[in-house]
C-alpha cells in the first residue's frame, strides 16, 4: 500500500517559495542598483559642472575686484584728483551758466496774482544749490497768500520759507489800498540739469 504520512513539519509558504522569489527579487534589485548608479553618476557630473561654473564666476568676480581696486588706486593719484576738482569746477560753471536771471524773473512773474508786484529778487549759490530771495507787495493778504500758494505748487521752486510779512507804513499814491509785503526764500530747481 502507498503511504502519504509524514510527521515532519511542512515548510511554510515563505520557506517553500523563498528560493523561487530569490531570482526575480535579485533581478529587480540589480536593475534598481544599476538605475541608482546611473543617477548617481549623472548627479555627480552635474555637481562637478556646477562647481566649475561657480569657480569660474568667483574668478571673474576676483578679477573685477582687482580691476576696481586698481581703478580706485589710480583715481587717488594727485594728478587725477586735481583733474577731478577742475572738472567739478567746470561743471559748476556750466550749471551757473544755465540759471539765467531774466528767465527766473519771468517764472516768478507768472506766479504773481493780478494786484501783486515783485519788489525784490536775488539769486545766490550755496554749493550746487540755487536759492532765490523774493520780496513781493500786494494790495491784500489774499494776494500774498495766493502768491505763496503758487510758489509752493510750482515745479521750479521748493522749500519755500517766509522770512517776513507785513503791511507798508504809507498808502499808495492816489488813495489806493494799503500794500501788504512778504519776503521769502525758495530753492530754485529750474536751473538744474534734469
Amino acid at each position: 500500500m502507498k503511504i502519504t504520512l509524514n510527521l515532519s513539519i511542512a515548510p511554510s509558504p515563505r520557506e517553500r517559495y523563498a528560493l523561487a522569489w530569490a531570482a526575480p527579487t535579485s533581478v529587480l534589485a540589480a536593475a534598481g542598483l544599476v538605475l541608482l548608479s546611473f543617477l548617481a553618476v549623472r548627479n555627480f557630473r552635474e555637481y562637478r559642472s556646477a562647481r566649475q561654473a561657480r569657480l569660474d564666476l568667483q574668478q571673474v568676480e576676483a578679477k573685477m575686484r582687482e580691476q576696481e581696486a586698481a581703478l580706485k588706486k589710480n583715481l587717488e593719484r594727485p594728478q587725477l584728483r586735481e583733474m577731478y576738482r577742475q572738472a567739478q569746477f567746470v561743471n559748476s560753471l556750466i550749471s551757473q551758466k544755465r540759471s539765467s536771471l531774466p528767465e527766473l524773473a519771468e517764472k516768478v512773474s507768472k506766479l504773481l496774482p493780478g494786484q501783486a508786484r515783485l519788489d525784490g529778487l536775488a539769486l545766490t549759490h550755496s554749493g550746487n544749490a540755487l536759492t532765490v530771495r523774493l520780496a513781493v507787495a500786494g494790495t491784500s493778504e489774499q494776494d500774498i497768500e495766493k502768491f505763496l500758494g503758487n510758489l509752493e505748487d510750482s515745479a521750479d521752486f521748493a522749500d519755500v520759507t517766509v522770512l517776513s510779512q507785513g503791511v507798508a507804513p504809507e498808502p499808495e499814491e492816489g488813495g489806493g489800498r494799503v500794500p501788504v509785503t512778504v519776503v521769502c526764500t525758495a530753492r530754485y530747481l529750474g536751473g538744474q540739469e534734469p
Binding site: 500500500m1 503511504i3 504520512l5 509524514n6 510527521l7 515532519s8 513539519i9 511542512a10 515548510p11 509558504p13
Partner: protein, 325 residues
Amino acid sequence: MNWGFLKKPIFLGRGSSAARFTLPAVVFEMQPEFVLGARLEGSARQARRVGRMGVRRLERGALAPHPGKANIENAEELRQALSEVTAIIGNGGGRYGLVVPDGAVRVSMMSFETLPDDAAETETLVRWKMRDKLPFSPEEARVSIQVLSREAGHVEVLAVAARGAVLAEYESALEPANGGPALLLPATVTLLPLLPESEARGQLLLHVCSRWMTSVVVVDSRPCYWRTRELDAATPQESARDVAAEAARILASTRDRLHAELGRVWLCARPSAGAEMTAAVAAAVSHAVEVLAPRTDLGASLTPDERSVFGQFGATVAGIVSNAG
C-alpha cells in the same frame, strides 16, 4: 454567511502543520541498537536506488523509545554514531528523511462518518479522538493522517501521532549538519509499501527491531490492526518465543474480531532473523512465514559489504524508495 472560503488565503500555511510524503536524498534511521544511513541515487523522475549505505551499532541504553518522555539517554554516543554513518554516506547538507523507533509514536486506525474539508479541523478532530491513547497532552502532538477509504457515511483513517518534543529530540541529533527533516516516519510505517497489494486475503506483518515488536494486520491494502510492544526477552531464543506467541495471539484476534483469514505472514527482523525465529513463528501461526527483505535491485550499486548491510537493515529504506516509485 459562510466565511470559510476566506480562511485559506488569509491564514495560508497555518492550517495543517504536517507535510505530505516526499522522497529525500538521504535517509537516517535511529533505533535503540543501531543507527542507519542511506544515500539515494537517481532523480525524482527516474527510479531511485540506494547509492551508499552505512550502519553503526549503538551501546545499550543510548536510546530508549517512549512516546511521552525523553528518548535519548546518551546524546554523545548517538551523535558519534550518526557522524560515523554520515562519514560513510556523505553529508548532503540538505533536508533528510528520518525514521524513528515505533516505540516513540502512536499509530491508530479510526472510523468517522464524515471528515471536515479543512485539514486543520480534521487534524484537531483526530487529535481529540486519539487523546486516550496518548501519554501526553494532545496539543503537544504532531499528527499525520492518511485517509484509507472514503465511502458514503464511512471514512477510515490511519493516524500517526508523536510528541513534538520527542521528535525534536531526534531532529536535534542531526540538526547541526543538516537542514531539518523532509520526511519523518516510524519504522513500521515505511514497511507497508513493501507488502504486495494484490493479496486478496489478509496479511500479517511482524516487525522485530531492537527488542521492539510491531504487529500489523493489513486487509484489502488497509491496516486493520496495529500493536507495538517492547520484548522482555534477553536471549534470541526467548525473543523467538515471544514473537511467536504474539503472532499466535494476533492471529486468533484477527479471526475473532476482524473475521478475516490471513493469507500471508511476513517477518521483518532487523538485523535479519535467524531460522529459529522464523520456524517458531511458522509453528505458532500454522502458516508459512515469509521474510520481508528489501528488493535486491534497489541495492545493485552498493559494494558487497554495503549490500550485506542493506539486506539486514535496509527494509525501511527500501520501503521509502518503493513508496515513491
